[in-house]
């Protein structure tokens, strides 16, 4: 199927909004993505015609709602090529999925003397849960450093992984845009006897995902970054690992039986899904998966690659030495998430001027403070592109940036 960005844009009603009479230039999709009619309508239709509890009531409305809810799980499983549908666990978001891994797998497997390997480009969601458990258990955290062009420095990887029990890394940096060699990293983890955990929050929305080809043990991501609703995320894990792990949250739905003496767990996936689930959100996520599948993730990746090349070239051509773009200059090694510094104008001030032109970017530390310290700054401007962005968005970014430069050198 050929990819037509104007057709894609027409699917996203918010992109037609005018703010103060001017069009919206949404360049914050690494933060959260906009929603297509397909997702909005699926959720609305479900609420209007089919909403009911799932997996607990016998009447037809509830049985149909359960089918749709479980159908969405099957769609997600196919989208990431999971071997088994019940290995796909609904969570609140990727952050909760990572916390689930750390609290459940980590608590059962990590103690003093053990080591876990992370990288310097992780989001706080893949750092803080490990630090929290490490403070209780006394295991150590080792860090894979970065090269000067924002890639992982793998020269010492086997030493770092030696004796480690887990290697948890991002598939794509939310600051630098770097796409990591996922397959190679998973293989290195396994060679050292460690499990491989992939934080795929920035990858699943933007490129084809194949958890089996990656060779991962756990993969986490959020719906809201992949044109789905907020409030739902995914943990995929190997059945054998999930089966061996203790439950995470306790409550309804996750039990097989409860007596005054104790409880027994439900089978997967219910074991990790305590309480009423994000039912409407699951329907929305299923619609998002259908939408992206119809467009084709290869097409999404190809479009974003083109946008990355255009954005990197345009920013460098127009601003030369006034702009410092973090991360790799090779669009083959990165996604369309571009962090930069512009002269000595603070990112907050830049984003304020950009906002006057409806250019929406993120300014700040992007929940990756260890990485920001390595970059030697406490904030960057980040423009992130998605399937609905166009070359004119790049022009709008450059024009607004130019205005910011003029304003702050008065």
């Amino acid at each position: 199927m050929s990819f037509d960005v104007q057709k894609v844009r027409a699917d996203f009603p918010v992109l037609a909004e005018l703010i103060n009479g001017k069009p919206l230039v949404y360049l914050d999709s690494a933060n959260t993505s906009q929603k297509p009619n397909a997702v909005i309508n699926a959720m609305t239709h479900f609420m209007q015609h089919g909403y009911a509890p799932t997996n607990r009531s016998a009447y037809k409305l509830a049985a149909d709602a359960t089918d749709k809810f479980e159908g969405a799980r099957a769609k997600v499983a196919a989208f990431i090529n999971a071997p088994k549908v019940h290995e796909v666990i609904y969570t609140k978001n990727a952050t909760e999925a990572l916390n689930l891994i750390v609290r459940s797998w980590g608590s059962a497997n990590l103690s003093a003397g053990d080591a876990v390997v992370l990288t310097h480009m992780e989001h706080h969601a893949n750092i803080v849960p490990w630090q929290m458990l490490a403070a209780e258990r006394g295991f150590t955290i080792r860090w894979v450093p970065l090269t000067s062009d924002g890639l992982l420095d793998l020269s010492n990887l086997s030493t770092l992984l030696d004796g480690a029990k887990a290697f948890s890394f991002t598939a794509m940096s939310n600051v630098l845009g770097t796409i990591n060699p996922i397959k190679e990293l998973c293989a290195a983890a396994h060679k050292a006897g460690a499990i491989a955990i992939v934080d795929a929050c920035q990858a699943v929305p933007h490129m084809p995902t194949d958890v089996q080809a990656w060779g991962a043990d756990f993969v986490t991501f959020s719906s809201h970054k992949m044109v789905g609703p907020s409030g739902i995320g995914i943990l995929w894990g190997r059945e054998s690992l999930l089966d061996a792990m203790p439950p995470f949250l306790g409550g309804g739905n996750m039990i097989s039986d409860v007596k005054v003496e104790g409880f027994t767990c439900a089978e997967l996936p219910a074991k990790f899904e305590a309480g009423t689930q994000p039912i409407i959100e699951a329907i929305g996520l299923g619609a998002a998966v259908d939408y992206l599948t119809a467009i084709g993730m290869d097409n999404v990746r190809a479009h974003e690659h083109d946008m990355t090349v255009l954005a990197l070239n345009s920013l460098n051509d127009r601003f030369g030495s006034d702009i410092t773009i973090h991360g790799s200059t090779d669009a083959a090694l990165r996604g369309a998430t571009i962090s930069f510094a512009y002269r000595d104008v603070h990112p907050h001030d830049i984003s304020q001027v950009l906002d006057q032109n409806n250019v929406c970017v993120r300014a700040g530390h992007h929940c990756a403070k260890p990485l920001m310290r390595i970059l030697g700054s406490n904030a960057t401007v980040r423009a992130s592109f998605y399937l609905y962005n166009t070359p004119s968005d790049v022009t709008a970014l450059c024009d607004a940036l130019s205005e910011a430069g003029d304003f702050f050198t008065l």
């Binding site: 990112p347 907050h348 001030d349 006057q356 530390h365 403070k369 406490n378 304003f407």
Partner: protein, 147 residues
């Protein structure tokens, strides 16, 4: 819609480019630190209180023009003033930023001077935290100094 000139008044940019009382002080000066977890802005306030007077103040850290200019203006406004007056100014400034901490309405009879220029920040709610960061950090430093 408020324009950029409502936010970035000339005096603000002047304080940003030439911050007053920039630097640090050695102990026995007290030190407090403020972070804006949203954007990573950091402010350090070094403070010497002698005989109930803000005898010396220095500002460290880094951040956007609003947070840095607010800190600069604040340092100039409280240096040499009685502690009580500094606390009253904190209350008044936060009130101007539409932050209601309860308590009495601040006395607004005295002119605010340069600080008046920050009034426009209220029209940009996202930036209020930037403007208030140094004032909260000063309040903490005054508390430490009073211990």
């Amino acid at each position: 819609m408020p324009g950029l000139e409502d936010l970035y008044r000339e005096i603000i940019l002047d304080h940003y480019k030439s911050p007053r009382n920039r630097g640090s002080l050695e102990p026995p000066a007290v030190r407090s630190e403020g972070h804006n977890p949203l954007c990573g802005d950091e402010i350090e306030v070094f403070l010497v209180v002698k005989d109930g007077i803000v005898d010396d103040i220095k500002i460290g850290g880094q951040g956007c023009s609003i947070s840095q200019s607010s800190a600069s203006m604040m340092s100039a406004a409280v240096k040499g003033k009685p502690v009580e007056q500094a606390r009253a100014l904190i209350h008044r400034f936060k009130h101007m930023m539409s932050i209601d901490e309860g308590g009495e309405e601040p006395d607004t009879s005295a002119p605010l001077g340069d600080l008046e220029a920050l009034q426009g920040v209220v029209k940009f709610p996202v930036r209020i935290k930037c403007a208030v960061l140094s004032w909260n950090t000063l309040a903490e430093a005054l508390d430490i100094a009073a211990e």
